[in-house]
Amino acid sequence: MSATQIPQISTRRRRTDKLMRGSLFAGTMIALIPLILIIFYLLQRGLGSWSKSFFTTDPTGSFFGNPGGIRSAILGSLEIVAVATLISIPVGIGVALYLTEYGKQSWFANTVRYFVDVMTGVPSIMFGLFIYIVLVLAHVGGSGFAGWKGSVALALLMLPIVIRSAEVVLLLVPSSLREAALALGAPRWRVITRVVLPTARSGLVTGSLLAVARGMGETAPLLFTVAVAFGVTGNLNQQMNTLPIQIYTDIQSPRSEIVARAWGGALTLVVLVLIFNVVARAVARRSRMA
């Protein structure tokens, strides 16, 4: 039998292949350019603003003089996100528990899942508007704009993220573990608290940290709920300063020192968000369920 000639690939096809593969590579590089540029400019323009006084003084709000630092913005953001976390994580994990342990594939559970998905698509400014009508205008708690109302708006934003990620993680807990515990006579609530949650713990932490990272960076929900302040107030039932709002206001100032502060603040915010993201990834990687 004569050796059959393997058809050679025509130059045209070879050229097309090289061209298209080159385009795919180029496309990937193009995708990375914005990231590199953003990091570059953040470092170039933001690092210069970083100084001890930047982090230890508040924005003075004075028109001509020293604009001050961003201390109250950082503290305010941490406070408001902390409260938002305290609201959204328990509720989110609770709903996820319902979906995985009790609801499963019932029509009710599927409806809840569907609408949680809907919530992830809602533009963040809508949550701010909602809280504005329901809490701010109605003067709930005796105040107009208040820090805790911003927390509620952020919690609404973080909730679907927590629910979705928690559900995925809880579903990964092997049913055999649950069944073994139940077979040993443990009541349902014990199974959940002593078996399911601890097994899923690192995944839940990952999801929570990602939600927190998201919450820290959001501006729109805070616009109409927390408004503006300069000093550290510490009182969540009052207007407070937050880092995203501080940056947003500073961007629109014509003063170059204040714009420089915006860059410094932006770098700080990105670093904070990245820390949460990096820790979340590290937790996830360490405890990959085989």
């Binding site: 305010g76 406070e79 003067h139 300069f230 550290v232 003063r255 937790v283």
Partner: protein, 369 residues
């Protein structure tokens, strides 16, 4: 295991920082000003509104902090300020235009307005070669801002400025995108001096601009003017000075070209009639040495902030202290001197009228301490 500890620690840090910040009271910024003898109980008041006056309130806020009075001011524009007061989400509104009956109708109760200062609205431009001396009159300005005059070397502008070489750069108009008292002042002036403007665009806190980019607040307009060559925008003087803008001298009602200096701004307040509700207007003042585009700015509060504005009695006291300072010691921060804010202070007659009006402020019916 370590990573879990770290992540738990990270979350704990967030929560702890929150709690710690809750525990700390208001910031201890070193006060460079003299400590006033009247350091009363600490109070916080919130205001929002005019960006024209924002530099003033922000400066006063800085000073008053050492007297245990925290003033948070959100410069969102006069329109938004009035809306916030109507919603009682703030204790005072900064508003450049006087309150009209329609505005008063939206409020929860009777509102008192106190004139606080006068600021010149400059016509600032960004032409690197042109450092000073540009003259403009009302109809030319109207032509520029309505989009009819599109280049800097247009005959209307060159005829007013013989001997000056103007480039053929396109004019980039910058106006306000938010509801603004500065816009109200500027467009009132244009409506007064140009019949076409009055009939087509008119005056108001918001108008439909036929051309140009919108900037948010006086600072937003200033920022856009700064970034765009060939831009022209109307900004309050403090912002123009802060950014080293060049601005035009404008023809006033007597036909003279006036630069917006502090004396020329003060001149606008001389000889105006003061209605009983103190709702004055200094636009296109008849005074012959006055700069024609001078805006007044008010602080508006409820006559009874406790009943109508939901304020506590300590907030009402704080409000009263703020207002007393505003037309008292605060006035000395305004003027043409070095270290002063470039606004014209109130004439003595208005100060006494303000004080008389302040005495009528009550808290749930009883006088405020």
């Amino acid at each position: 295991m370590t990573i879990r500890r770290i992540s738990a620690f990270a979350t704990a840090v967030v929560v702890a920082a929150g709690v710690a910040a809750c525990g700390s009271s208001s910031s201890s910024s070193s006060s460079s000003g003299t400590k006033s003898s009247s350091s009363s109980a600490p109070a916080t008041i919130n205001g929002a509104g005019s960006t024209l006056a924002a530099p003033i309130y922000q400066q006063w806020g800085s000073t008053l902090k050492s007297q245990n009075l925290t003033v948070n001011y959100n410069p969102v524009g006069s329109g938004a300020g009035q809306t916030s007061l109507a919603g009682a989400t703030v204790d005072f509104a900064g508003s450049d235009p006087a309150l009209k009956p329609a505005d008063l109708a939206k409020m929860k109760g009777p509102v008192l307005q106190y004139p606080v200062a006068f600021g010149a609205i400059t016509v600032s431009y960004n032409l690197p070669g042109l450092k000073s001396g540009l003259k403009l009159d009302g109809s030319t300005i109207a032509g520029i801002f309505s989009g009819k005059i599109t280049k800097w070397n247009n005959s209307a502008i060159t005829s007013l400025n013989p001997g000056m070489s103007l480039p053929s750069t396109s004019i980039a108009v910058v106006h306000r995108s938010d509801s603004s008292g500065t816009t109200d002042g500027f467009t009132t002036y244009l409506s007064d001096v140009d019949a076409t403007w009055k009939s087509t665009i008119g005056a108001g806190k918001d108008v439909k601009w036929p051309t140009g980019t919108g900037g948010k607040g006086n600072s937003g307009v200033a920022a856009v003017v700064k970034q765009t060559t060939g831009a022209v925008g109307y900004v309050e003087q403090a912002y123009a000075i802060e950014n080293n803008f060049t601005y035009a001298s404008v023809k006033n009602s007597s036909g003279t070209y006036i630069l917006p200096t502090i004396p020329n701004t003060s001149a606008a307040a001389n000889g105006i009639t003061v209605p009983p509700d103190l709702g004055i207007s200094t636009i296109n003042s008849p005074n012959s040495s006055a700069y024609p585009i001078v805006s007044q700015t008010f602080i508006d509060t409820y006559k009874d902030p406790c009943k109508d504005g939901g304020a506590t009695s300590s907030t009402a006291s704080g409000l009263k202290r703020f207002l007393t300072y505003a037309f008292g010691t605060g006035q000395s921060t305004l003027g043409a001197g070095s270290g002063q804010l470039p606004y014209a202070p109130l004439p003595a007659s208005l100060v006494s009228k303000n004080q008389a009006q302040l005495a009528t402020m009550v808290c749930n019916g009883s006088p405020v301490l």
